[in-house]
Amino acid sequence: MEAEDIKRATWRMAHEIIERNHGLDGVVIVGLQTGGVWLAEDIVVALDEIEGVKPALGTLDVAFHRDDIGLRPLLPEAPTQIPFNLDNQAVVIVDDVLYTGRTIRAALDALNSYGRPRTVQLAVMVDRGHRELPIRPDYVGKNLPTRRDEMVDAGRDGVDIGEIVK
């Protein structure tokens, strides 16, 4: 995917979010630190242009909720910022790449600390498969079959697949 493809996919996902939620009433966007934040920001910009409504934007670091603490070095990146209550909101979690689903499980766990959303949805730029938990995305930029020993990097400039250097 190139930069133009990323932009088109972002706008398509924004349209889908509006369609699914019948507008943006009570919709809040939460980008996962750090990879999902750029996409969350871009989705908010697109939603604003399309609908004339700018939903609240938060960021969430899930490090303290992961299930592999102690198994590998895990230090959080940037502090969470969710300065609003999530009770009865429709929360759209945004991340760059969906892989095992464990980050999303941690994110669902973390969200509970901020209230009880009416619904939680998931938007990702790339779904690369290999899920290890019963988690699926609601909005997908692109489905991209990969091998486990590959690494996927998704940013505003496009999507790269690289080999993990052992």
């Binding site: 490090a63 303290f64 909720h65 603490i69 590998r72 502090p79 760059d96 980050t103 901020y114 993990i164």
Partner: protein, 317 residues
């Protein structure tokens, strides 16, 4: 090369400037956690933190307990007054007994310097020094660094005056190490009888007059007058102390605008610091206590959850 994070926190030197910065960075995250509607994360679920306090403590002990609980760790309490120490059990046997129950960390406070260090030889758990004799109190210094960083942006380059009983103060020792490691300019002010001989070799300035350094500092850090040591006749009287080294209303008025008034607590109101000064917005005593929980969460997380740094993360998606 030393491992980071270290297994134990016995001294500020176990962290160094980089480690102090990392604790402060993590504490930002835990400050956010503490502000959540449900201020608790599962990061240390299944871990046990044992408290071994041989000396009185209110804030340090409560702060460590709250920090451990907010990380979902279990807490084993222990206080001398209700334990077998009263039946003559030695520190070594007590450590062995606690260790046999398999805690992941032991938080130790003892009136003798070196007990936390000695404890590491008797247990597999991480040992955290919560104050040992006149030696060190590293988590106090960390929360003070964090408080200064929060208020003034950074510790580096700040002129910090530490005033009071330096000699008997583990807080002063840890703070001097931490503040100077981060690049602050530290001046110690004390009656000559309450200055340790070793202070000459510390990277600090020494003055016997608070008035002389007051107008030229960013932080005044008052230490507690340890009244239990009054019998040693190191001070003429409390009134004399206040007249010479107390932060009175008059002296506080001569501080530069925005200069902080800090104290590790418990404070003797009207002795080290005047009650009116404690109520001013530049007095940070309650903030220090609040930050203590986040900073101790950071220390516990760093010691118990972060695997010693192997290599950068890859492919976490």
């Amino acid at each position: 090369m030393t491992l980071f994070p270290p297994k134990h926190l016995l001294s500020i030197n176990d962290l160094g400037a980089e480690g102090i910065d990392e604790v402060c960075r993590l504490a930002d995250h835990f400050t956010e956690v503490s502000q959540r509607p449900i201020p608790k994360v599962p990061a240390l679920r299944g871990k046990t933190v044992a408290m071994m306090f041989y000396e009185d403590s209110t804030r340090t002990r409560l702060s460590f307990e709250m920090a451990a609980r907010r990380l979902s760790a279990d807490v084993m309490g222990f206080s001398v007054s209700s334990s077998s120490v009263n039946k003559g059990e030695s520190v070594r046997d007590t450590v062995a007994t606690i260790s046999a129950m398999g805690p992941d960390a032991i938080v130790v406070r003892h009136r003798s310097a070196g007990v936390p260090h000695q404890t590491t030889a008797w247990t597999q758990a991480s040992v955290i020094n919560a104050g040992d004799g006149w030696h060190e109190h590293p988590t106090q210094a960390l929360l003070d660094c964090y408080t200064i960083r929060e208020r003034l942006g950074s510790v580096s380059g700040r002129r910090i005056v530490i005033v009071g009983d330096i000699k008997h103060s583990r807080v002063a020792r840890s703070c001097v190490m931490a503040f100077t490691a981060l690049g602050a300019k530290v001046t110690l002010v004390a009656p000559p009888t309450l200055l340790p001989p070793a202070a000459e070799s510390w990277p600090v300035d020494v003055s016997s007059s608070l008035d002389a350094v007051l107008s030229d500092c960013d932080v005044v850090y008052g230490l507690r007058v340890q009244q239990e040591r009054q019998s040693e006749a190191l001070l003429p009287s409390l009134r004399e102390y206040t007249a010479q080294w107390g932060l009175t209303v008059d002296r506080a008025a001569r501080l530069p605008a925005g200069a902080l008034v800090m104290h590790p607590g418990p404070v003797n109101r009207g002795v080290e610091i005047a009650p009116e000064v404690l109520d001013q917005p530049n007095a940070t005593l309650n903030e220090q206590v609040r930050h203590g929980v986040a900073v101790r969460m950071a220390v516990l997380y760093l010691l118990l959850a972060a695997v010693p740094d192997l290599q950068p993360d890859e492919g976490v998606q």
